[in-house]
């Protein structure tokens, strides 16, 4: 059987990959994908902990379901905002959308 540590390692890796994708800010679609990866990393943790803890409830799994739904809602809103920004700026590179300066 695959040990708990393996799940946690994969989740941590997913989290870091997501973080790097958001931080590199090359392309807004990558940024959105990175955000989804972070949420899925958390989901993997939640479900794995439920599976391995003796006498565990299903709190983690229920939470994961809610997170899936929220991730969809978040993607929908973020995508709408990105598309609107794209039609105004005609680029999806976030570093080129910087009109406000101090």
């Amino acid at each position: 059987m695959i040990p708990l540590g393996a799940y946690l390692a994969v989740a941590a890796a997913l989290f870091l990959v997501g973080l790097v994708m958001v931080a590199s800010r090359r392309n807004l679609v990558y940024v959105l994908m990175g955000l989804e990866l972070i949420l899925n990393a958390a989901n993997l943790n939640l479900v794995a902990f439920d599976r391995f803890r003796p006498g565990a409830g299903v709190d983690g799994q229920i939470t994961a379901l809610f997170v899936i739904i929220l991730a969809a809602a978040e993607a929908a809103i973020a995508l709408a905002i990105v598309l609107n920004a794209f039609s105004l700026f005609e680029t999806i590179r976030p570093d080129e959308m910087d009109t406000m300066k101090d």
């Binding site: 955000l35 972070i38 902990f49 983690g60 978040e74 809103i77 905002i81 920004a85 700026f89 101090d102």
Partner: protein, 494 residues
């Protein structure tokens, strides 16, 4: 003792009222013909007023946990009233703002009500799932609110930055929460307190410190604390002023409340009691918060010095104020939390006023930079004098509530051993005088640039006057302090 179904619903009536309200507003928007531009706002204010009345009735309810998730206690109810009244004022601002979007106001109202509902759950829970859901409901509706101005580049950019950093913050927070769930085996922060205490005692601090750090990062983004503050100025500048008001006052207030509840629940068994030394773990947590607090107030105040755009200046000033509030939180004691809560209330009055001032003068000139205010103070005495009161309060000058709030923060920080932070706050308050005074100087001490007939808006100047009176009246802040103390006592003693 579990509540019966009917009793549980009794506790949740304010939430029901807001939910009903947002459904009605949305249906009104699509089904009623011949609407006026303001009727959705009036409808929303009506529903929020009903919710506020229900909340006031619930102030004296014994603390209870409904459906195992929603905590209804004095702390939650006070902050629910906080966000409800702030939203009513934001809706009034929106009606008075001549540059506000006239079409799509129904949707703005709907989104504001959704944000209020999310805030209700955010401040009223110790369950990490509901905390996350509340945070996201508040966040998702705020992202759309930021982008409502579909043809404005600034608004699109603001919405984009807000959604990316906001989603990142809640994602990091969720990842931290999932680790915390694994370490402690529960999602309820109050049940976590015992396993957390045990882990700290057995020296397994890394297991707790890592998830705690991630959760702090999440809250740090939401509260725009250094080093997670860069989104705030761009977002506040890009969105319409009423929405900026909501983000700066409403969102930040309830996020601070959720942060206080998180700390006081998860560390319920180890928090600093009077006359007792903190454990090493707690000392390092408090030390981290104190450092972040110092960095935040230094950054906010210094960056505000060279701003010309009023909204951007207020954004940096609100970053600085988050730093002040965090100083109370960093003490991790009941006194510290009291001072932080009180300052959040004071912050509410003076920032609502300051953003209202921006709307008022932008109505006159169509601009929102400091130069545009030249000489307007004499022409608009009520708004002008109120503005000076808000500025004095933001600086922390004596005849205002801002002074009282800041004085209490400095006092408890001094007593709690954070001498350097207390001194830093006093020093930075002097620095802040420079940029706040620039606004007052432009209003009263310069000649008017050109002769424009003033646009009278008695409703808005009346509202500003009331907020200014409140800012002065609460110098004698016993009633506010009582509310804060009673709320925080629930956090500590149940």
């Amino acid at each position: 003792m579990p509540l019966s179904y009917g009793e549980a619903l009794q506790y949740l009536l304010p939430e029901v009222a807001v939910t009903l309200g947002l459904c009605v507003v949305l249906c009104w928007e699509i089904f009623v013909k011949g609407r006026r531009a303001w009727d959705a706002s009036v409808l929303s204010i009506g529903f929020l007023a009903v919710a506020a009345v229900l909340l006031v009735q619930r102030l004296d309810y014994a603390p209870a946990t409904v459906f195992g998730m929603v905590t209804v206690d004095r702390f939650a109810t006070v902050f629910k009233l906080f966000i409800t009244s702030a939203t009513v004022i934001v809706l009034l601002f929106d009606l008075q703002d001549r540059r506000a979007l006239q079409d799509g106001r129904g949707e703005t109202c709907f989104l504001l009500l959704t944000a209020v509902l999310g805030s209700y759950f955010l401040v009223g829970t110790t369950h990490l799932l509901l905390l996350y859901l509340g945070l996201e409901t508040l966040g998702l509706s705020s992202y759309v609110l930021a982008g409502m101005h579909k043809r404005s580049r600034a608004s699109a950019e603001a919405a984009l930055k807000y959604v990316v950093y906001g989603a990142l913050a809640s994602g990091i927070l969720l990842f931290g929460a999932s680790l915390l769930y694994g370490m402690t085996g529960t999602l309820d922060l109050r049940l976590m307190a015992v396993p957390i205490e045990q882990a700290i005692r057995e020296g397994r601090t890394a297991q707790i410190a890592l998830p705690t750090l991630l959760i702090l990062v999440g809250f740090g983004f939401k509260l725009s604390l250094v080093p997670f503050q860069w989104w705030a100025p761009d977002v506040y500048q890009g969105v319409t002023t009423p929405i900026a008001t909501f983000l700066a006052v409403g969102s930040k207030g309830v996020a601070m409340a959720a942060f206080l509840r998180y700390l006081s629940s998860a560390y319920a068994t180890v928090l600093v009691q009077p006359g007792q030394e903190p454990s090493p773990y707690l000392a390092s947590l408090g030390g981290t918060l104190a450092l972040v607090s110092a960095a935040t107030m230094i950054f906010g105040n210094l960056a505000a010095l060279r701003q010309d755009n009023l909204k951007r200046l207020l954004a940096y000033s609100s970053i600085a104020h988050a730093g002040y509030i965090l100083m109370g939180v960093a003490l991790l004691s009941e006194d510290g939390f009291n001072a932080a809560t009180l300052y959040t209330f004071v912050y509410y009055f003076m920032n609502l006023g300051a953003f209202g001032m921006v709307i008022y003068f932008a109505n006159q000139t169509g601009r929102e930079d400091i130069q545009s205010l030249q000489g307007l103070g004499a022409r608009h005495p009520v708004a002008g004098v109120s503005t000076v009161v808000f500025l004095a309060s933001l600086t922390g000058l004596p005849p205002t509530a801002g002074f009282a709030g800041k004085w209490l923060l400095i006092k408890v920080a001094w007593e709690g051993g954070l001498h350097w932070l207390a001194l830093l706050t006093a020093l930075l308050s002097v620095v802040s005088l420079f940029y706040y005074f620039r606004i007052a100087k432009a209003l009263f001490l310069t000649e008017p640039a050109r002769d424009v007939p003033p646009v009278r808006s008695p409703a808005l100047s009346g509202l500003l006057g009331l907020l200014a009176l409140a800012s002065i009246a609460f110098l004698h802040f016993d009633p506010l302090l009582q509310v804060a103390e009673q709320g925080v006592r629930v956090l500590f003693w149940g």
